[in-house]
Each structure stands twice: as structure tokens, then as C-alpha cells.
Amino acid sequence: MTHWIVAPVMLPAILAPFIVLAARYHIGIQRVVSLAGVVGLIAITAGLAWQASDGSIALYQLGDWAAPFGIVLVGDRLSTMMVLLTAVLGFFVLLYAVSSGWDRKGRHFHALYQFQLMGIMGAFLTGDLFNLFVFFEVLLIASYGLMIHAGGNERLRAGVQYVLYNLLGSTLFLFALGSIYAEAGTLNMADLAQRVTLIGPEATVGIRVAAVLLLLVFAIKAAVVPLHFWLPSSYAEAPAPVAALFAIMTKVGAYAIIRVYTMVFPPELEATAGLHTLWLLPAALASLAIGMIGVLAARTLDRLVAFSVIGSMGMVMISIALFTPDGIAAALYYIVHSTLAAAALFLIVDLVRSGRGGSLRLTAMPPMTGAALTAALFFVAAIAMTGLPPLSGFVGKLLILDAAFTSPLVVWTWATILGASLVSIVGFARAGSIVFWKAQSITPPEDATAPPAAPAALSYVAVGGLVALLAAHTVFAGPMTGYTAAISDQLFSPEPYISTVMDTPGKLSPPQEAN
């Protein structure tokens, strides 16, 4: 048993207190430590992903306690891909936060950032539902601090909404966990997967309630309509690098749905048959439609991007809701694409904000500083987000359309996806032409103050890095779809996962063997 798999959780957990305690008043040291930590995370998670890529499952028993009694971390293809994605995203977003000076506008940005990464990494790696709750809380409490970073009334008000909504979500999560424990007597995912099959058809009421409650909790995290109300305000008001990092947080919800509803409550399980398979697809279609209509209706650029995140989560959830190997594989390809595209867009919105002197309203204003490069990046990211060829959004959309072909709701799915794509293209085109093109026809007023300074070159490197990753995600679409198909195969044959978790001996041998 190697200890590498716990390193993505431990490294930020050590760096964050170090930053608070030792480098409190030295922003330079904080930046160096924080960036070095994220680079280290990329190296570690890339190693883990390479290890898991041959289909082996890495298991780590905390304190060496055996599985149903102790907490386990499990690294299979899916979780290692998600932690690698988190580390890469964390690096570029942190680079932007440092270069744009966001990290100086309030205190403890870097410490909270590391705690946030720790929570996300833990949520992806854990093999225990209660531990998943704890890591959710770790990432949430760090996100509360990051959300109101740099202060301001609007941000604090949006922060109150965000915190209260998530507190309600956490309460619901505990209710779900309580009912699962009452029914099955375990919260270890692998153990649970074995035990729910033993529940007879006459006693399924409790486990059905628990499965739906748990789905609701994850749907809140993934911002699926009608549980999406927390997202637009909080993402629009959050500091730009924080909003960009939050792009992975909705995916934590999607990941949890994929994990739990392929392994613990698979669609063919008799006890929970016809529950999530029935409701998730219509809700996902509604998310896509409402998100993209929001894109068209938004009056500020930051809200427009926030609604496009809801729409892209709708795409992800449509593909997940099919619960077929093809659907999950397409969803995973789209998750990577949507995380990178949403993060890039939030950072570009911040470039626009600083170029226009603080306003993000969709009205024509005098030309902004650094318009050419910002506009180019915006159009590339918008093409990716709306799913136009040639970027990865188009590939992902094709995969999802193809996977939906066998679904009974195929007509609705195709109509919604294609219609929503058109609406979002109109929305983004309108926003882009108002912000970048109409500006040319407006002369700056006579008493205009000096235009704001152009963003630092390093900011463009950070955004350009994310856009380059999107391009790479498109160019290497073949290997990527091959890999997501391999992930999905592993998810739909969970026996190796379960036997690895349950049969690995630990410190505590069962009582009958001890005697």
C-alpha cells in the first residue's frame, strides 16, 4: 500500500496552515508556496492517473483499518482523472489570481485556496459516503471564505444566499445519509453496493427514499433545475478566479451522481428501479433549456457566463441520465470540456471588467484596453462553450447526441440540445458583438479619465493556457474518448472495485477470525 493516493489531500492540508502561520504578512512567499504546491499536485495526480490508467484500483486504508470499519480512499480511472483535472485547473486559475492581483484584495486567499483544493481532491478520492459529506463541507467552508474574498455589499449578499443554500443542502445530505444507514447499516460505498442487492422487494421503501434524497443533494451541487437558484448570483458576484475554480465544484456533484448511481444504485437494481432514470433526464433537459435562455436574457456578462454553466451542466446531466456506458463516456468527455471552457470564460470576463473600468453591463461602451487579444480569447471560449465546430464542445455534443439515440426520449433530447445550442449561440454572439464590436462606433467622452491599465501578460498566459487545453482536448479527442470509454467500462463492471475495497485485509480482522 503506497501513500501517494493520500498526498493530493495532505499536501494542501499542510500548505494552508503553513501559509497562514508562517507567511501571513508576506504575499510573495504565499504566492511561491501556493504555486509550488499546485505544481506538486499536478505531478502527484498525473502519477496517480498514469498508475490507474491500466485499470488497476489503488486503495488506501486510513490508519490501516479494514474497509467497512475504517475510511478508505480509492483511486480508479474516474477519480484520478478528476483529481488531475482539478490540479491542472487549479494551477491556471491560481496563475491568473496572482498575475491579476486578486489575491491581494483581501486576506488569506492562498490559504483558503489550498483548503478548497484539499476538499475537492478528497471528495473525488474518498470511498465512503460520510467522508464524502465531510469533504463537501471542507470544500464548502473554504468556498464561503473565497466567495466573499475582497468584500463589497453585493458580494456579501450573494455570499449569504450561497452559504444558506448550501447549509440547507448539507442538512439534506445528512438526512439522506441517516436514512441510508438506517436501511443498510453501512456508509462505505463498496459495502453498500453489496448490501442493497440483499434488500428484498417487500422492504424497499426506506432505501428508495434514501436514494432520492441523495440524488437531490447531488443535484443541488450540480445545479440541476429546479435546484439551480444558488448558482447565478454566487458565480457572478464571486471574484473571477474563485468563480473559475468553482467551475469544478458543480462537477463534484456530477461526479458523485456518476459514482453512486452506477455502483451503489445502478439502474438495473430492483430496489430502486425506475427512480432516478425516470426523473433525471427531464430535469436535465430543463436545465439545459433554462440555462441557455438565461444566456440570452442576461444583462451583464458575468451572469451570462453563470447561466451558460447551468446550461452546460444540463448537457452533462442529460448524458449521465441515460445511464448507459456510451452516455457516461460522453458525459466524462463533456465534463472535462465544460470545466475548462467555463473557467476560461470567467477569467475572460474579468479581463473585460478590468479593460472597461469595472462595468460588465451589456451596453456599448468606448473601446477597452487590450481589446484585440481579449476579444479573440472570448470568441474562442464562446465557440467552445456553445458547441460550434471545430472545438471540443462540438465533439462533446455529437457524442451526447449519439449516446441519446437509444433513449426513449430521443426526440425531446435532440430537440432540446439543438434548440438550446442555437439560443446560446445567439446569446453569446449578441454579447460579444455589443462588448467588442459596437465599442468601435463610440467615441470616448472628452473628459474621459486615463483608460485602465492593460492586464498583465501573465494573465493572458493563464487564460491562454486554459484555451490551449481546450484545443488539445479537441485535437486529442480520439484518445480522450477512448479513455472515457475505458472509465465508463470500469464503472459499469464495479466488481473489481468492490472486491479491492472489501477483501483487502486491514488492521481489524473480523471477530470470528480473532478468536
Binding site: 466573499i148 449569504v160 452559504v163 444558506l164 445528512l174 438526512f175 441517516g178 438506517a182
Partner: protein, 120 residues
């Protein structure tokens, strides 16, 4: 005892949900506190209700109290306690800054404010 515990959870949850829907920070925070109490009792009950039974394996005992929900409740209490403290601080900051303790968005919309700044 089951009826007593179940109705206590139900009343706490109902009162908590009602307070959450008042949409002003103080009642909402009180409501969330009530909800967390309800969920704590619920977690206790998830290990089955027993009285006076040991939590550790002993010879000659048939009925045990499940020790795991107690550990879960402890974690849940600590987390909800910390979260409530955080939300009280953020809500205080929002209230003192904007002199308004509504949780929902203001009716004129936050984007109306830059416009008035431009006019003046």
C-alpha cells in the same frame, strides 16, 4: 418512544423549514439551526432506538447500542456549529453594509445600481 422521537424530528423540521421561508437572515439562521437539531436527532435514530444497552461488545449481551451514529452526530454537530458561526458573520457583514437583511435578491435587481451611478 418511537412516536416521541419521530414527532420531535417532524416538529423541529417543520418549524425550521417555516423559518427558512421567512427570507430574512435572522429567522433563516434560526430555522437552519432547528433543521440541524432535527437532523442530529434523526442520525441518532438511524442506529435504532435502545435504552440502557452497551455500545461495546461484551459477553452475555444481546442488544447493543450502535456506536457509529453517535460518531456521525458528533461530526455533524461540529460542522453545523462552525457553519452557523460563518453564516452569522457573513450575514452581519451583509446587513451592516447594505442596511437590509433580506436573503433574496432586491426587487430592483443588483444591476440597476451602476446605472444610477452613471447618471449622477
Amino acid at each position: 418512544m418511537e412516536i416521541l422521537v419521530a414527532s420531535a424530528i417532524g416538529i423541529l423540521t417543520a418549524a425550521g423549514l417555516y423559518l427558512v421561508m421567512r427570507l430574512r437572515t435572522f429567522p433563516v439562521i434560526l430555522g437552519i439551526s432547528l433543521l440541524t437539531y432535527a437532523v442530529n436527532v434523526f442520525l441518532f435514530a438511524s442506529g435504532r432506538l435502545t435504552i440502557g444497552s452497551p455500545g461495546i461488545l461484551r459477553s452475555g449481551v444481546d442488544v447493543y447500542a450502535d456506536p457509529l451514529p453517535q460518531a456521525l452526530v458528533l461530526t455533524a454537530i461540529v460542522i453545523s456549529f462552525g457553519m452557523t458561526a460563518v453564516v452569522v458573520m457573513i450575514a452581519l457583514g451583509a446587513y451592516l453594509g447594505s442596511d437590509d437583511d433580506h436573503v433574496d435578491d432586491p426587487t430592483e435587481g443588483p444591476e440597476a445600481q451602476p446605472e444610477t451611478e452613471e447618471r449622477t
